[in-house]
């Protein structure tokens, strides 16, 4: 099993722990990831507010580069995953946009056909690797640990390609396969406010506080997420939350970190030291 890997800016910056744990877990499961050569930023949500066509062209370059390799692309960052999927759909549905974007790409010697498949790590684990294969490789199950599975917005919205829009379950199933328990968490797909915390803190902090507090009340020892922006937002601003509301101190982890532990990988390889809120309780005894 081999895929192209599109890390995106976050996984090289604030989301390093995601990259470290993802690569470790995929390696342990025998899935090869080949980093896309000379990839650029996908434009995320911000660039769309400035220039629509250019924003699609940025994503278009990534897709065109990927097409040359004839492999599915794995995009672990939710924003990248959405932008790449949205670009393909929009170009397909709007001929005029398609003309402009492919024209610009051709000016730089790139060819876009729209043939590449953009996948999420959860999708690959669930549908290509399979739960049974994962379960077989679990060596140190996470028994006794309780987590709140948090998917965030952009991996199931607006395009639910591999999971339900309102009640996604793939990560729940993977965490359960790791031996952990998932709390019933109503905010699974509620927005964390990540794109606003840096700019309008009073708004972003409230959204983050709601998510963390509810997870805590439902007995979770950590929130487990799939998105680097959510992780940064929920992990990085707990000091500010403490100042404004109350101290919450809940570790925010990536699902790949939990799965990595269950696969018996050393915590040091899984980026645990990168969490601002310490996850010692989760690591206890390992």
């Amino acid at each position: 099993m081999k895929y192209l890997y599109f890390p995106g800016c976050s996984l090289k910056g604030t989301g390093k722990a995601y990259e470290e744990s993802l690569l470790a877990v995929f390696g342990a499961l025998g899935v090869e990831l080949q980093e896309l050569e000379d990839w650029n930023c996908c434009g995320a949500t911000a660039y769309m507010s400035v220039d629509e066509t250019k924003s699609y062209a940025l994503a278009g370059r990534i897709l065109a580069l990927a097409e040359r390799e004839r492999l599915d692309v794995v995009a672990p960052c939710s924003a990248c995953y959405l932008v790449l999927n949205k670009t393909q759909k929009s170009l397909q549905e709007h001929p005029e946009l398609h003309r402009k974007v492919t024209g610009a790409l051709q000016a730089a010697g790139l060819d876009y056909k729209g043939t590449v498949k953009v996948r999420h790590p959860l999708d690959v684990l669930m549908n290509d690797v399979g739960l049974d294969a994962i379960k077989q490789k679990i060596t140190s199950p996470m028994a006794g640990h309780k987590f709140a599975p948090y998917y965030g917005c952009q991996i199931v919205r607006p395009y639910a390609t591999f999971d339900d829009q309102h009640n996604p379950v793939t990560m729940d199933q993977i965490l359960q396969a790791s031996g952990a328990e998932c709390v019933e968490y109503p905010h699974k797909t509620r927005c964390c406010g990540g794109s606003l915390t840096g700019t309008v803190p009073e708004v972003g902090l409230r959204l983050a506080y709601i998510l963390i507090k509810e997870a805590k009340q439902r007995g979770a020892e950590a929130i487990v997420t799939v998105c680097p922006l959510c992780q940064f937002n929920l992990d990085g601003y707990q000091d500010a939350i403490a100042k404004k509301y109350e101290r919450v101190d809940l570790p925010i982890l990536y699902f790949t970190q939990i799965l990595g532990l269950a696969l018996g990988l050393p915590a040091a390889d899984l980026g645990f030291k990168r969490g601002i809120i310490s996850a010692e309780a989760v690591l206890a005894g390992r």
């Binding site: 339900d164 829009q165 309102h166 009640n167 109503p186 509810e214």
Partner: protein
């Protein structure tokens, strides 16, 4: 206005008529221009335009011209032949011309209504008229075929639509077979407690009709049965019906229910489907006390005797009539009927599909049908409105349009939900005293006494919040919300978002076509719209007819509707069947195929093509023969015949080739 000219040698004398249809045609197509143009075509001796060709004076004009100008062919440019072909054929006959010396041109549905460019539409009208003028020269004089109509009728579906249609037909003296899939007739109406807006009790008005069906000498009632196969054509259908085993002899059982008391299960243990799973039943059961026929049946999936063969069969022992038969087998019955009324009903939307409303996840969320059973005096709680844990709700939210008016699920308005939500709001308030909220997008109350009913509910103090609920959640933000289900909604009239805590949520689920509507329509060879409901022949003028003659539709199988509309439509379907029966025969289009014997080479390539097995090979002569009674006139064999020896009346090769030539000539 008219052009007239002298007759040309060798070509039949053709009359051409173009209709204005008020302004429907004339506002887009320059009818005078077309009239003048057609007058120049070979053979055309009269060319006229007229305000309404289909009117009496319009038809009279044609008949008179035929006599006066000795017309030999007739072309009318007007609306769709599906609407008025018959009208003008009759006009031709009135003038003394064979009806089939006529060709119709559709310039309304196919031109003036669908084009905006006047010049292009007029060009199209000319092309189509020319094609008809070229074609009609080759028309032959034909006669319609007459076939007798069997007076017996099949009604499929025993809901209120089927019941009403069957009784109407039976009261008119016709023999009716009523086939129902479930163990009892009554359909959805039997589940309801009250009916809007009059609030009369559903059972009080339905059960007398159910018993009338059972006791009517002209009705044969087959419940727990399904139609397997339909063959034949209008007036002469052969139908196979499968009667599923009840494991109780229907003729012997008197419905005393002693067997149910005697069953080895002392307490009812299995989910009761009739009560939407809110109550329990035993393996031997009857859906409800007034079930018709009043005959018990056994559920083989839960009965110990059926599963293991090792039960002491106390039920059978308790039966003085010895009605039990654990070895009963399905039975296949064949009947002969002339007409069929389909009244197969609807199913309700599956509330689980809208995950955001939490049905199946939060026990406090109910479907409207479940509430119908809860408020029913003979339901599982005897009319007590309680939550699944036995508590009484203090606040109830009714969410409208669940599975309706939503591009993601069903686009249509289900028509009944506003009204039944009002009814349930009233009943819940009456039975429990709870605070009731209605969440609606638009209130749709078009019906006799419906708006007044809405007004009454407003006066009763039921809350009406205009907004589509975004979420049902147990996430509490305030102490009052603890332990409640919270509905988040924009009160669009007030202009802000509200959170409303309730104990019980009722989902007003919409109406959908039956899950197997697709299969059923194939069996009966009728059409479905994209929503899955059966397709009527014309949305306004033939609402109970289908494209297959002799098969009629009634009730919610054709689209969402309430009880009054359903009953009215059932009566209409029965009347349409009676029209055919009383006429005694039907006339069929003479568009059958026939073999020109001397040209047939006996290659047999046509024989397997015919879906009706109308073609055989005369072994002695080595020539194909077509049975005209069996032929339905599709023309597939005509197109396939390598020697060109098969011809189809009304669709001869000459006719179609000249139409092609005419449409393209300039």
């Amino acid at each position: 206005m008219a052009e007239q000219k002298e007759h040309q040698n060798g070509i039949p004398r053709i009359g051409f008529y173009i209709c204005h249809c008020g302004s429907n045609i004339a506002s887009i197509i320059d009818v005078e221009d077309v009239r003048k143009y057609v007058a120049t075509l070979p053979g055309v001796v009269v060319s006229r335009d007229y305000k309404y060709m289909c009117s009496d004076p319009g038809q009279e004009l044609i008949a008179q011209d035929i006599r006066e100008h000795k017309l030999e062919r007739l072309v009318v440019s007007a609306c769709s032949p599906n609407l008025h072909e018959e009208t003008f054929r009759n006009a031709a006959a009135k003038g003394g011309l064979n009806s089939f010396y006529f060709q119709m041109v559709n310039i309304r549905e196919h031109a003036s209504w669908v084009h905006e460019d006047k010049a292009a539409a007029t060009r199209k009208a000319k092309d189509l008229a020319r094609a008809a003028v070229y074609r009609v020269r080759f028309h032959q004089a034909l006669e319609k075929r007459k076939v007798p109509v069997d007076p017996n009728v099949l009604v499929v579906g025993g809901g209120i639509a089927g019941i009403h249609a069957a009784l109407t037909l039976a009261n008119a003296g016709k023999k009716v077979t009523l086939v129902e899939r479930e163990a009892t007739i009554g359909g959805h109406m039997a589940l309801f407690d009250k009916t809007f807006p009059t609030m009369d009790c559903a059972a009080c008005i339905l059960t007398p009709k159910m018993s009338a069906v059972k006791s009517h000498p002209n009705i044969t009632l087959w419940t727990y049965s399904e139609v397997e196969k339909v063959e034949g054509y209008v007036g002469n259908y052969k139908v196979s019906v499968k009667r599923k085993p009840r494991y109780v002899n229907e003729d012997l059982c008197v419905g005393c229910m002693a067997c149910i008391d005697a069953c080895v299960f002392k307490e009812p243990k299995f989910p009761d489907k009739f009560n939407q799973g809110l109550g329990k039943r035993k393996p031997v059961y009857i859906d409800f006390p007034q079930a018709t026929p009043k005959v018990v049946l056994i559920d083989p999936a839960t009965c110990i005797q059926m599963k293991t063969g090792k039960c002491k069969k106390s039920c059978a022992d308790a039966c003085d009539r010895k009605a039990f038969d654990f070895n009963q087998q399905p039975e296949l019955k064949e009947i002969q009927v002339g007409t069929i009324v389909l009244a197969t009903g609807f199913k309700t939307y599956d509330a689980k599909r809208d995950a955001l409303y939490g049905y199946g996840r939060y026990p406090g969320v109910f479907t409207a049908l479940e509430i119908e059973r809860l408020v029913n005096a003979s339901g599982p709680t005897l009319g007590d409105v309680v939550l699944r844990d036995g508590r009484h709700p203090k606040a109830v939210g009714i969410i409208h349009c669940v599975g309706s008016r939503d591009e993601k699920t069903n686009k249509w308005c289900s028509r009944v939900c506003c009204m039944y939500s009002l009814k349930l709001a009233h009943l819940i308030k009456e039975h429990s005293g709870a605070e009731v909220y209605n969440f609606y997008i638009d209130m749709r109350t078009p019906g006799k006494g419906y708006e007044e009913f809405y007004d009454k509910l407003l006066a009763e103090g039921v809350h009406f919040i205009r907004g589509r609920v975004a979420e049902v959640t147990d996430w509490a933000m305030t102490p009052e919300e603890q332990g409640k289900l919270v509905l988040r909604v924009e009160d669009t009239l007030a202009g802000f978002v509200r959170r409303i805590p309730v104990d019980m949520v009722v989902l007003a689920t919409g109406m959908e076509a039956q899950a197997d509507a697709g299969e059923v329509r194939h069996k009966f060879n009728i059409g479905c719209g994209s929503e899955g409901f059966f397709q009527e022949r014309h949305p306004k003028l033939a609402p109970v007819n289908t494209f297959t003659d002799g098969i009629f539709i009634a009730g919610a199988c054709q689209g969402p509707r309430d009880i009054p509309d359903t009953v009215a439509q059932a009566g209409a379907a029965a009347a349409e069947a009676l029209v055919l029966i009383d006429a005694g025969h039907v006339e069929l289009e003479p568009n059958t195929a026939h073999v020109v014997e001397e040209e047939c080479c006996g290659c047999k390539s046509c024989v397997p093509l015919c879906p009706y097995s109308a073609i055989t090979l005369d072994e002695a002569k080595k020539k194909a023969v077509i049975n005209e009674v069996l032929c339905k006139g599709c023309g597939t064999c005509v197109a396939a015949c390598p020697s060109g020896s098969i011809r189809q009346n009304l669709f001869e090769d000459d006719e179609i080739f000249s139409e092609i030539e005419g449409v393209l000539a300039q």
